[in-house]
């Protein structure tokens, strides 16, 4: 609408510009701040907390005190420590599962949309098929096949690489979870990416790339995909809560965190049963969970806006 006269802003690149725009976005920066705080709480401060798995049956449902900032849970364990340790799992699940599904979703959707025609129809029908697969069945099968795997893997790693046993156990336990989540989490995303790609591939710079003799893959990965990242980022921040909650359900089915370790999803799911009696068991983990997701969402929105070249033209 309004074009600027031909004066050129001095020495700013897209990323630099994006960063400075981000810096001016209060919500995005607030979100970023909260996430940084959450990270440091869960991954650094947690090490200085009391043992989150220390059961004390005589001190259950204790009110907040000096020793137990958030009080204790049904087994007398320190709720604050459990929330922080649970955050480790949930944040990792949120980040890794989302990344896995974003990577698969983008590549699959982009290939489908870019190829078009019959390939596209086949690929999208595959998505339809996968959408209809009963998720629970898949999880049960995975649980059965992968739980042995994780035990074997732990043994192998401990024996051959000499890693810490508990750490390895937690790791190998959670890998099948990512597998399960990543396997189906990308479906909707791929449809979104595909729609974006379909419109972007009509843009002239793609034709210019063909004219310059670029290969299809180069065009896809260097020219089309970078241009669909913005909306994808926003959508994927919306999928994070879903993943974290799925983790809770899967953990109960034996695919995920192993008791007595916990995660936000598991804490919330268990806490929901104490609604009549001990509401804080739901509210406190729920607060951490929501706060992180809100922040992530603001950050995602901010990132999209900052990366949006069209908006940057104003």
């Amino acid at each position: 609408m309004i074009e600027k006269t031909a004066t050129i802003p001095q020495g700013s690149s897209l990323w630099k510009d994006a960063r400075s725009r981000m810096a001016k976005n209060k919500f995005a920066m607030g979100g970023f701040g909260v996430i940084v705080v959450m990270f440091s709480l869960c991954f650094i401060f947690a090490w200085f907390c009391t043992n989150p798995n220390l059961v004390n049956l005589t001190n259950k449902f204790a009110p907040p005190s000096k020793e137990h900032w958030f009080g204790t849970d049904a087994l007398g364990r320190d709720l604050f420590a459990r929330i922080l340790y649970g955050g480790q799992v949930s944040i990792l699940v949120g980040l890794i599962a989302t990344s896995v599904s974003v990577v698969i979703g983008i590549v699959y959707g982009a290939v489908s949309g870019f190829a078009g025609g019959r390939t596209d129809a086949i690929m999208m029908r595959i998505v339809d098929t996968l959408l209809a697969i009963p998720f629970l069945v898949l999880v049960i099968v995975l649980q059965a096949t992968l739980s042995d795997w994780s035990g074997d893997a732990t043994r192998w790693i401990v024996v051959n690489l000499n890693w810490d046993k508990e750490f390895t156990g937690r790791l190998t336990n959670i890998v099948p979870l990512f597998f399960a989540l990543g396997l189906l989490g990308w479906l909707t995303l791929s449809r979104i990416v595909r729609a974006q790609v379909m419109s972007i591939k009509e843009r002239e710079f793609v034709e210019a790339a063909v004219a310059l003799g670029y290969s299809k893959w180069r065009i896809l990965f260097r020219h089309i995909i970078p241009n669909v990242l913005g909306p994808t980022v926003v959508y994927s921040t919306l999928t994070v809560p879903g993943f974290i909650m799925y983790e809770a359900i899967l953990s109960f089915l034996g695919l995920g965190v192993e008791s007595p370790n916990s995660s936000w999803g598991v804490l919330i799911k268990e806490g929901a049963n104490f609604l009549e009696t001990e509401v804080q068991l739901l509210l406190l983990p729920g607060l951490f969970f929501s706060l992180t997701l809100f922040s992530l969402n603001f950050l995602g929105d901010g990132l999209r806006d900052a990366l949006d070249v069209k908006a940057a033209k104003d």
Binding site: I2, T5, E204, A208
Partner: protein, 579 residues
């Protein structure tokens, strides 16, 4: 008394990047039944003026900093939103540049044309529809009754603009604001639209504020002209006087840099040849005549014939024969399957190495398709493309790869054809990487720097993104990118059509210089006969996928053989004033 009187209007945009004085203290007026042309290049503030009047600017970032707009005794800028709405579309209507994007794609034509009536007048829907159809007929839409129920995408560009005009005039307004209404249209269509506007002005007595960057259109249509530059009015007056005796250097430059059919220069003069801009530290500036304007012009004139000598080697580089490209549409649901459009229907052409073949025709004639087909960006149906004795139609895409290095294309919209998320360096390095030009990064970087210098840009731009450049600069980057693979043949597909005349002149000059320096061969595609004539040695006139006329550019201009060429020549507005 004037119908509309603008006095000391100031509209600024306040953005993070600073304040842009889009409209900076302008005054002019329009009388009843008068056509006033407002001329200026992009960014001159002419559209902002129109939008300010009707309160259509997004606020923020826009803000009216001062001045008055008096319409028929009322102060528009002070009106409340409901009162202003009562004027919008009823007493002051507006038509916009791009009729496709300005019509609602989701609503039927009839609904859109009747909407202003239904909003502003207390009439029944049937009456409104009758009036709408009447107005559609008046603006030259045949079968108005039947076509009123179609959607915008089912109309051609010219027809859509007629719809816009019908929509604007259906409430019989006193003032019509026409914001570049013909810019996106072909010359013949433009001629028809201008005629309609003139007729309507006479019929309905409506005053028109006609905003355009095209001097020719204004010269043909307007009673008075206002020339704007950088938010200010640099000159205004009676059309005849202004064109005959421009006083401001900017106007002089503008008039001179526009290639016409009569232009004899090999290199066009540019606005900078006439105008000197002195920018003060506080951002304000003063404009004055360029001290050396006379000399510069004289130099250009002297060059007229200097390099017009025939090229020594006359080997044919490209030979296209009986080329056909068909599009299949339909086959979807609710429409009959497989409608075939013969976009290119048996074209023969030949291009000599080192020369330029001009290809002119109106939108939809198949010229762009032809250009893309030659580069194998478009599948052909039949015919042959012989490039340097190689038959391109038989090659697979991987086999085309070596030819991609030799044949390049420059598109109309440089912004769209540059990946918005690549820096200039990445955009220029990538083709070199793909075609294995340059041994290492530093060598490629050196090449890019010299390329940029060649197209008139500096190395300081390397790390920037396309959105940080102006249109002319972007097109220079496109040119540089095309040159990065060191091609010998370039298809210029409407590559200056979207530009202001002053920028257009610069780019045309650049192409010219590059051709001489690198012995390039061009296929120059445009809808603008004057530009094609200026650029080309030979030219082809195309219509409906077929060649209408073919021959030496000068000859065709001087002695057009086909009726269609004649029609095109006639449609070019007001050549008499701009000679």
């Amino acid at each position: 008394m004037s119908l509309l009187k603008i006095k000391n209007l100031k509209t600024y945009f306040h953005t993070r990047g600073g304040t842009n004085r889009a409209v900076d203290d302008i005054s002019f007026s329009i009388d009843k039944g008068e056509i006033v042309g407002v001329v200026g290049e992009s960014g001159s503030g002419k559209s902002v003026t129109c939008h300010t009047m009707l309160g259509l600017l997004p606020q923020p970032p826009a803000k009216v900093e001062g001045g008055t707009v008096t319409f028929d005794g009322e102060e528009l800028l002070d009106l409340s939103q409901p009162l202003l709405r009562a004027i919008r579309g009823k007493r002051i209507s507006m038509i916009f540049q791009d009729p496709m994007s300005c019509l609602n794609p989701y609503l039927r034509i009839l609904d859109q044309i009747t909407e202003p009536i239904l909003i502003h007048e207390n009439v029944s829907r049937a009456t409104a529809e009758a009036r709408a159809i009447e107005m559609m007929t008046k603006v030259g839409i045949r079968d108005a009754e039947a076509r009123a129920r179609s959607y915008p995408h089912e109309f051609s560009g010219g027809m859509r603009q007629r719809v816009m005009i019908a929509m604007a005039l259906v409430t019989k307004p006193d003032l019509l604001l026409a914001d570049e209404p013909t810019t996106a249209l072909d010359v013949t269509v433009q001629a028809r639209i201008l005629k309609i506007l003139r007729d309507l002005k006479d019929d309905l007595g409506v005053a028109v504020l006609f905003v355009t960057h095209d001097l020719g259109v204004v010269a043909e249509l307007a009673d008075r002209v206002v020339v704007m530059y950088r938010g200010k009015i640099v000159e205004q007056g009676n059309t005849q006087d202004l064109f005959k005796n421009p006083s401001h250097p900017y106007v002089k430059g503008l008039l001179a840099c526009r290639p016409t059919l009569e232009t004899q220069y090999r290199i066009l003069p540019t606005v900078e040849d006439f105008l000197q801009t002195k920018i003060e530290e506080d951002g304000s500036y003063t404009l004055s005549d360029h001290p050396n304007a006379e000399d510069r012009l004289a130099k250009l004139t002297s060059e007229v014939n200097s390099d017009k000598e025939e090229k020594a080697t006359l080997t044919s580089l490209l030979q296209v024969s009986a080329l056909q490209v068909h599009f299949h549409s339909g086959g979807g649901f609710l429409s009959s399957p497989h409608k075939t459009v013969k976009a290119v229907d048996g074209i023969d052409l030949q291009i000599t190495r080192g020369r330029t073949l001009g290809l002119v025709g109106e939108s939809g004639c198949g010229k762009t398709t032809l250009g893309r087909a030659i580069l194998r960006l478009q599948e052909t149906k039949s015919g042959s493309i012989l490039y340097d004795k190689n038959e391109l139609t038989k090659l697979s895409q991987p086999e085309m790869l070596p030819f991609r290095k030799r044949m390049q294309i420059i598109f109309q919209d440089p912004y769209a054809s540059l990946n918005p998320r690549q820096t200039i360096e990445q955009a220029l390095t990538e083709p070199m990487l793909v075609h294995k030009i340059g041994i290492n990064q530093s060598e490629r970087r050196d090449r890019i720097v010299s390329l940029l210098e060649e197209v008139g840009l500096g190395a300081e731009f390397l790390l920037r993104y396309p959105h940080e450049f102006s249109g002319g600069q972007r097109q220079r980057i496109s040119v540089a990118r095309a040159l990065a693979v060191e091609p010998e043949f370039i298809v210029c597909d409407e590559c200056v059509s979207a530009m202001d005349v002053s920028v257009q002149a610069q780019v045309l000059n650049l192409l010219r210089q590059l051709q001489q320096r690198r012995n390039l061969t061009y296929l120059f595609i445009s809808h603008d006969l004057s530009v094609v004539k200026f650029m080309s040695d030979d030219m082809i006139v195309m219509k409906n996928g077929k060649v209408m006329e073919h021959g030496n550019a000068d000859t065709i201009y001087k002695n057009p053989q086909s009726e269609y060429t004649l029609e095109l020549l006639d449609a070019i507005p007001s050549s008499s004033l701009l000679g």
